[in-house]
Symmetry: C2
Subunit: 186 residues, 2 copies
């Protein structure tokens, strides 16, 4: 059993509208002391949705990502609103970003993005039994929906427009999930 | 061809030792305007190393992640130092964090973590032909190295101590890479 470092002090060092930076002084169990910075958690978590069509294609979206100043292929995702559970949030974001609702949602995995400097987690939710339904969100423009056959996942992973680690991980996990689901129904 | 939004203005809104927050005013091609925040890029990028032993196991590390205030299973990783290329940085981090060097490095993929609010990218590098070699890094304590058979990847992905999306993505990609490598050598 590893003994966790002792947190000696937490200080807020910078704050903007979205981000809150904390400085943390730690003492490790061997006596070593370090001061780290991290982004403080906010909100109620986030969901990433893997929408799967009847014939086993995944619905990707192409959206503008200001961090890389370019359009990128990824999966629908968004913050969980106060009072929502993960599946309600997943269904709402899917309607806002891809124009589909889902009658069959299943949680795959809670993933972190960069646990060394932020606590942010996203829950990967597979969405099946889809039906057309669009909700107005706060998106500045309608997102392009790109249908991709899951048996061509390797080509997608090789595409330089598809880089988001959480989406890569989610699609591989969904392949395992669907293989298990189909072996159960055989 | 999608026309990128026009960047109207970039303002620095908060700054700490590690983080630099920018506010960006954008006008999308349909005329919609939005103001977003993002973390500015810094440094020379980062590498994540997937060390593969002779018999096909992966070497994971268990390290303390202050963002989640807990120990986590992940892959060795770190920032690229000025003047280093990706493979030099990968080999150095592998020596510092896992106590191994590699004679055979191959770049798998450049991954982003959260392109909607940061540009940070990490290059996944597979390391083979390993030999014991430890370099002193700036780690506060020696990291535990955990050997995991890649054919039990599904059990690892189900482990709540293994959450980092970039590491999940990297291990699935390395499985594809090794399958191709072994089919070539047959």
């Amino acid at each position: 059993m590893t003994v966790k470092p002792e947190i000696l002090k937490i200080t807020n060092t910078a704050k903007s509208r979205l981000f809150n930076v904390e400085e943390i002084e730690l003492r490790f169990s061997n006596g070593a002391e370090r001061t780290y910075e991290r982004l403080a958690n906010r909100g109620h978590g986030a969901v990433m949705i893997i929408p799967i069509t009847e014939n086993g294609d995944v619905l990707l979206i192409r959206e503008y990502a200001v961090g890389i100043e370019d359009y990128t292929l990824t999966l629908p995702k968004g913050l969980i609103d106060p009072g929502e559970d993960e599946h309600t949030a997943a269904d709402r974001e899917l309607k806002e970003e891809a124009g589909f609702g889902s009658n069959r949602l299943h949680t795959l995995k809670v993933m972190t993005s960069a646990p060394n400097y932020m606590g942010h987690a996203v829950t990967a939710v597979v969405a099946q039994d889809l039906y057309p339904c669009r909700l107005e969100g706060d998106e500045p423009e309608e997102m392009e929906v790109v249908r991709w056959p899951l048996d061509k996942l390797e080509q997608l992973v090789a595409d330089p427009d598809f880089t988001e680690a959480r989406a890569i991980a989610a699609l591989y996990m969904v392949k395992d999930f669907l293989a298990k689901q189909s072996s159960k129904s055989d």
